[in-house]
Amino acid sequence: MINEDKIKTMTKLAAFDESDAKKYSQIIEYYRSDYIGKEMLKSTLMGTIAYVFCVALWFFSNADDFLKNINNLDYMSLGMDLLKKYLLFLLAYLFITYVVYAVRYSYGQKKVKNYHKNIHNILKSYDE
């Protein structure tokens, strides 16, 4: 005789094992601060590379003007301006990273908690 409740619980367990176990187990291995910190470090690197590419694009689009005025440019103020924009961009990007990964960590914690609860229920049903 098929036990429907058992099938439902085991289906949820198997579905988690199949698709989410690897992703969320890796998340839960870290403390919340370590996980978010790790992702923010990655974002800092990727954001910096993306910003450098943006600056390169901007340079290429104005390269003729740069080359003409190469001796007259105020490199200090240009550098400060680029640095300010970089810091603002990085701040916004890191804020988005923090929000996304904080939500993902909470969600992963809940999923793993439910998974353990379901395992407990299945083991209990075997003992009965």
Partner: protein, 331 residues
């Protein structure tokens, strides 16, 4: 209405039974349309443009994840751009890298919109993707929609100026860089499209998630209105050419597609089907689970205020006695 519901259930049953064949077929079709559109519009590399290669790439798209199709499409585009001009290919590479770093880092599996947006914009029904994404996806699908719009206008600019960009020039090494970047920087139509589609997606998503009656209907209608007004108003204000007939047709087509999507998927999320196998002592199970789409219910808190009853001697139970004895021993 009963006939429609019956058709819906039959279609659902058909999809549920044969989805292991239908999904790869749809992925193959999407990949084929993407590569045909790329080759048809910017097919400057005659070796990749050939139909056998397109077919092989489309077959790969059928078996690989959507992210792989996005990656292969990006490579094909870059090869075509390289055949046109080295400078254009460099700019294209930088653009794709930035899109990857800024969006795909967070959602590597959600590349579908980046493929669908250029196709829908090519067929002048760009608002289909924002409205349907708002219904079935999360809020951050707006970013992939914006990325897809950016890629479309970038490639459109390349196509319209191909003769200039592909020709040898004495203007200086930066002329082509400047010409290509100006396709993006000064493109008011692109900015209007990006803002309109992002806002439409977010509006539809926000209203759809509300725990109100008919939230999905309200979401679709509001999304269509937002899209229509922003496109009409934006184009008039910015002095961009406007074809009202096409805009109305786009809105009508989007409405039809959105209501069909709502009708078919309102209860079940077929994009997250799980197939699992397991066994116990008595049976081996092959299970297919289709998750439901839930609307969060409002949390109810019930507060009861009652006076504390003093226990009489007759209410004193065995547990109360043991508890008190335990406390006395501890003291």
């Amino acid at each position: 209405m009963t006939t429609l519901l019956e058709i819906k259930e039959k279609l659902r049953a058909f999809y549920a039974k044969y989805d292991i064949y239908i999904k790869p077929a749809l992925k193959f079709l999407l990949a084929l349309v993407v590569y045909i559109q790329i080759n048809g519009n910017i097919g400057y590399n005659s070796k990749i443009e050939s139909f056998p290669i397109t077919l092989v790439l489309a077959l790969l798209g059928a078996i690989l994840p959507i992210g792989a199709t996005v990656f292969i499409a990006a490579i094909v585009i870059l090869l075509h751009l390289y055949a046109l001009s080295f400078e254009v290919a460099i700019i294209g590479f930088i653009l794709f890298v930035m899109v990857y770093f800024l969006y795909f880092r967070f959602s590597p599996k959600k590349g579908m919109n980046v493929l669908l947006m250029p196709i829908c914009l090519k067929f002048r029904v760009g608002s289909v993707v924002p409205v349907t994404s708002g219904l079935v996806s999360e809020w951050y699908s707006a970013i992939s929609i914006v990325s897809g719009t950016l890629v479309y206008y970038f490639l459109l600019g390349i196509k319209e100026n191909a003769s200039t960009l592909g020709a040898e020039t004495d203007e200086g090494i930066t002329y082509k860089f400047t010409a290509v970047i100006n396709q993006l920087v000064g493109n008011k139509q692109m900015y209007l499209a990006m803002v309109t589609f992002a806002l439409t997606t977010l509006v539809v998503y926000t209203i759809r998630k509300l725990s109100a009656n008919y939230s999905w209907y309200i979401a679709i209608i509001t999304g269509l209105l937002v899209n229509f007004i922003m496109e009409l108003g934006g184009k008039l204000m910015l002095g961009i050419s406007l074809n009202l007939g096409f805009l109305l047709l786009e809105t009508a087509v989007t409405a039809i597609v959105a209501f069909i999507v709502m009708f078919m998927t309102f209860n079940l999320d077929y994009t997250r089907v799980e197939r699992v196998q397991f066994e116990d002592d008595d049976y081996y199970y092959y299970v297919k689970a289709v998750p439901k789409i839930f609307v969060a219910e409002k949390e109810k808190t019930v507060k009861t205020i009652s006076t504390k009853k003093k226990k009489s001697r007759s209410d004193f139970t065995k547990e109360d006695f043991e508890e008190q004895m335990g406390r006395n021993i501890e003291e």
